[in-house]
Subunit: 368 residues, 2 copies
Amino acid sequence: MNQNPAARVGGSVRVVGAGLLGASIGLGLRARGVDVILADASRAGLHLAVDYGAGRIASEGDDPQLIVVAVPPDATASVVASELIAYPNATVTDVASVKVAPLAELEGPGSELSAADLARYVGSHPLAGRERGGAISARADLFIGRPWVVCPRPGLSRERVGLVEHLILDLEATPITLPADAHDAAVALVSHAPQVVASLMAKRLDGAPASALGLAGQGVRDVTRIASGDPELWVQILSANAPAVVEILRAFRDDLDEVLVALGDVSASGARRTIAQELADGNAGVAGLPGKHGQDRRFASVIVMVDDTPGELGRLFGELGEIGVNIEDLRLEHSPGAQVGLAEIAVLPEVKTRAMDDLSARGWRIAG
Amino acid sequence: MNQNPAARVGGSVRVVGAGLLGASIGLGLRARGVDVILADASRAGLHLAVDYGAGRIASEGDDPQLIVVAVPPDATASVVASELIAYPNATVTDVASVKVAPLAELEGPGSELSAADLARYVGSHPLAGRERGGAISARADLFIGRPWVVCPRPGLSRERVGLVEHLILDLEATPITLPADAHDAAVALVSHAPQVVASLMAKRLDGAPASALGLAGQGVRDVTRIASGDPELWVQILSANAPAVVEILRAFRDDLDEVLVALGDVSASGARRTIAQELADGNAGVAGLPGKHGQDRRFASVIVMVDDTPGELGRLFGELGEIGVNIEDLRLEHSPGAQVGLAEIAVLPEVKTRAMDDLSARGWRIAG
């Protein structure tokens, strides 16, 4: 953050909504020297974000080229509409995690917008966020390397779309163009339905005996981690994308019913084959997720035992650096009661043997 | 692995089944100098495990004190029975991930076992494993710090239970005593039901367009990670624990149906409240999972940006060691296309501010 490389977006940017996303956008643009005008329905929230350095309070005569609406999904369409009307030259985008519903509201019969107004609206959605919300969790680099979907309506001017792409590039995210309905179907699949599934599984843990929860390993923790998300926000997201989410969850429920029937009488003809097929289909689904750097590349893993004392992981990774092995990904595993952890390090397959040999030679205990 | 501390178990230990668990038990005991006798229905599998150093081939006159049956769940009861009969003085344990079904089979009317035989059987289950199976994935330290449940039948002699606990302690796992039915209910909740849920969610991803999968973030990856498990093994586990798994999945399905109804008409009275309540219950479930070291302790997190080059993570963790901050847990996040990662480091809450200040002073970019 020591440099302020020239920003691609020109002029002032107005950000409406100073929560996690709005404040993070403000911080990221300010780091490039952009004049950021902040607005928020909550005066306290606005002042917090200003204090954080995410932008300044609006003043008479502001003439933003670009307006970013970063309010909850339920409020998105009405705020986009009022901004389009209040600033008749500006391009307006939003960052809501659903795109069809706000667009339908803006285009609908009850809308006070003209065709000319709507020609200045470009919906978008950064795939970024945190389990904690609010300006207090904001960070300038929230979007770095993340996909940021742009959903231009047909016939939108190249310049207006380009302005939103400049914003995205200034925040070091990756612009991806998708029609609104394809976007909503995609996030229903990779975000909204998994959220429901994780929450319902996590609900089963609520009130379980401590002796049962004490046996929990990394598996159930991973399955339920995102269930700690904010219910109020998620109700809005799920409601706004209900048809796409329902389609996926219905198919999930039908599969679950098949598994329940099969488990209800495992000695019945075909029961075990049904279960095995569902599990094998799950194998295929996981294998299809793209890997790091957008490639479908498999890394090799090296598992090293690490004592639970300060500096041990540092020493390990320092030595990996010394032998020239890059850490592509890693997972640290700890069991209740253990004073030792396992660091599972993903490396390029071609360096795995060397990494294991060199670490062993330096006295590390290689566990796999 | 340089030392051979005296083992608690005395005499020879016979391990039947030279897969991941059996070979890992063999390696762990061999590291303590214990005489390990390996047996496996597959000659090739047996020789692979012997070559790995997990034990030796059985020979005439072997008189093991303890026998560990480490075969697939379906075969467990019959192998336990034949071992009890073949070695009339030995204590026999097994490591199957279900405990009621094998016990019922051993005690059932079709069993050839006498009460005296059964008095030598102590069921157990190490909560350890990997997504990859086979002796080739075995490691001496697979069990270190893991819970290992012992399910003694009422009236079992203290000495025989103690022998199994010695095995567990020699492998540096943590013995936990639970009745067989409580064990099965617990693993249904924290392992078997999450496995089904993860697999069915992962199945939805199979065949999805690349543009949708390209938006996948850490959330859906975590929810579906364990879906890469071996279907053949999991069919056996799920089938053997079907009633307990069905109970949890039925409750899950009922909740899912409620969510589907609510999402089917989000403007209906109470619909949003229903969804919000399910999500809030999920919050509570996740919050109840015990933290590291078996405590329900919350850590603070520090998020640091790390360039994707060799040695950078090493430098970070090395400097954390220098300033005396222990890393309690960590998550490395990477987005497709990014050349920079975010290391989310869990630290004790009381050192968070110092860690952030000291790292900033050393030039690290703190992202939260």
